[in-house]
Symmetry: D2
Subunit: 262 residues, 4 copies
């Protein structure tokens, strides 16, 4: 399983949350706080919004903890909205193009989870992506395929509904292929202004997803980067966190999926 | 021989000079304008000043032209003072630590040229570097050794005299070792506010060094990145370019060395 | 344009042909012998047959000339059949998965050339690859797609006819898409025992392809690695070189394509 | 702490011990068997003897577990004597030159452990290395410095005494510098025919070192790669394992050091 972190608030230097010696994503990637967590050494990435509408991206195949470029970059870059991700591969190879976050125009996306039996539906999943978006597929991960499909489904316009539609399609492909393994999914998406985070699974076990608001600054994480008691709230299973200017709400993904079904 | 570029002026995005499709350092690194020039594919680096006193550094071992991280970074980073360098190794290996620019505290340094017979004086050269600076030696290049020795010689306080002293010392070591090959040296140094560039050789053949002032913005390059007629001026052999707030002057390195001799 | 080399004969150490200081593929990759040739610094790869039926593969994204691992490997590995390739990208990114040679089971393939307008037919080209082979697509190049399609077309069984069929299909896709740019193709394929090399273009300009036999050892190259007068023979345009145990012949690709047309 | 493995016996493919899905060094590097062990993701290396007197070397900065080149290489290379090492840095940077094993002519060396307060004696330690060997220093680790110093001390001629002498010198430097931290050291050395492994510490806590003989094949490991009960014997503290043609003995390093003291 991967780990990720998304920040939206007053501009801060990335190193505060990404690289700090303790209680940061990079620290977590090497020294797991909870026994169950594994090493996240299969590449990493950051994406951040600066003066341009399109985000900057830095992705590398070596572990985040030993990358001096990442350290220097996070010391320099100050941003009001950024993503950071450390990867533990579920099978696909360790290349830059397979590292999160994925960018498309002014959008960023990152993912933690797994499509059970991905290899058996990969091609059909890719088949659902329209030509112009398929051209942007640079890697081989399920995560990138989901992102492109969600974009085709209207992710920028209806971030919750489009993701519900996408998960529904993926489940459909899995069912068609007779796959017993689960689809488990947490993810974050942004247009550079607003932030959405998703937590869903076809069984009762979606990966964890937490958020904390402090002085109007929002931090969304796959797992708390410090003591669990310090203001972290869990995004409920089957829900989506929606952070727009001045408001953070939780919407029901399951409901959105249900409406699609009807 | 390497190629480099230093900019000091109104804040601009790095991509304008570093990565643009034509007339940029990266373009030059692959497609040499003059027949004599070679490929600069042995690593690269950028150093820039942002909101902190210490510069950011990004250095990689692959060629600059194929690095998507460099491209994204240069699109995002806007700076009033930055260095960029593409490397053609003269023998030392292609590692990040051997890529320019080299940073020390708030200082940056980069170099083009070669110490003839470096292998035969490397150790004695390193022997001249004081302990606390020697601890900062991370690579094996002559360039980094010269930088550390120059720092020890007072580079921040007297950038021209200290460099003259350093070159004199290196020449001394070369003479002691009976080295016939030449010491040829162009370089740039900055403290984040002011900029110095050097052009010197023990024979009549220092590498080229040009600068251009446009609307108060200074660009210093190892070779012009566009048509030679477009305002480029050569830094004379044996001289140093000194760019302080509001003034760009040329000082005589040879003279400084002469005074040291006296 | 890329450069490549294929050897079949008495076992020799790879460094003789791949890494030697002069007259080797790696030497060529940096110091072009003919003015027209460019730098091949966008990754490289070697594939060789040892004691197993499946070949070994070593591919890297940095330039071949600065890779100490390649040097050491080529000093150690002795092989009776090996491929080496230095890449100059025609657009796709510099990743290991985009470097040649490509392996599938006991087969190796490498390519020089370009599908004009590849971006416009990429998806349809991939659509022709059957599921089980598509699963082996790890990169994004036209070269890998051609290889997988050719395998589906029976490359191991009928190396000349299957490649003719493949080129015909690609041309068909290009015509359907109204692409004016040319399809130019030289390539090499092996099953670990026999060797095939192809030279074809839809116009009169296929990339060059040479071979030399010396004491029963065959060397096939995109361009001669030493003086052109030293026994090199050109593979004629529209032809395929077929090297089986004890025989080297030239077969007509164009004819094979014609028969398919009929 | 790093992990390593040395094999001497009938030629076997490296993948059996280095890359196998379970009970291999690479497996260990990611999934620690004992809770106390950490991730070894800071680079890796293999060194092996083939047909030449000098060994082959492959070292990389990314984790061993995700390197497809390592996997292919280990499938192909069969050797009667090889070293493999996965690194967990104790502070120096993750570069190829800092990865083990280190080669010098036909010798290989690898190390696990740490010189306490290395930064404070690094320079004096390097000062003990003679010029011609110092030229071979390509990295910044304590391990490489110890190897070069041991070579100067006669490692090839007297592998146990020379290492005793080296450790004594390092201890001397540490004492002079008033360093309280410990010197802990396990290592392996070979000339391509015979194998030496060392286990020593200035306190009672040298890193572990085990060996197993099976049908005349010797395996030396920092930690057992399978069940501890399966024939593993510990190299006693303060001792050296000496494997020559047909004999494996344990010699006393402490004694050797004592004799030097007298």
């Amino acid at each position: 399983m991967c780990r990720f972190l998304a920040y939206k608030g007053e501009p801060i230097f990335l190193d505060e949350l990404v690289c700090a010696p303790a209680h940061s994503l990079v620290h977590q990637s090497l020294h797991a706080i909870e026994a169950k967590t594994e090493t996240n050494g299969d590449g990493f990435g950051i994406g951040w919004y600066g003066e341009r509408s399109e985000p900057g991206i830095y992705r590398e195949v070596r572990p985040a903890w030993s990358d001096e470029n990442l350290r220097s970059l996070c010391e320099q870059v100050r941003s009001k909205l950024f993503f950071a991700h450390v990867r533990a591969s579920t099978g696909t190879s360790t290349t830059r193009a397979n590292c999160h976050p994925f960018a498309h125009g002014r959008y960023l996306f990152m993912h933690n989870g797994q499509i059970g039996g991905y290899g058996r539906i990969k091609r059909r999943l890719e088949g659902l992506i329209p030509d112009e978006l398929y051209d942007r597929r640079l890697g081989t991960t399920d995560s990138e395929a989901i992102f492109l499909l969600a974009l085709a489904n209207g992710l920028p316009e209806e971030p919750v509904v489009a993701m519900a539609r996408t998960l529904k399609q993926v489940r459909g492909l899995m069912n068609d292929a007779g796959i017993d393994e689960a689809l488990r999914f947490t993810a974050a998406f942004t247009d550079g202004e607003n932030l959405w985070a998703y937590r869903w699974a076809c069984d009762a076990k979606p990966p964890t997803l937490y958020f904390r608001e402090l002085d109007g600054n929002l931090l969304v994480v796959s797992e708390p980067i410090d003591d669990k008691t310090r203001g972290w709230r869990e995004v409920p299973k089957g829900c989506s966190l929606v952070a727009r200017a001045g408001s953070v709400t939780v919407e029901c993904l399951n409901q959105a999926m249900g409406r699609l079904a009807a």
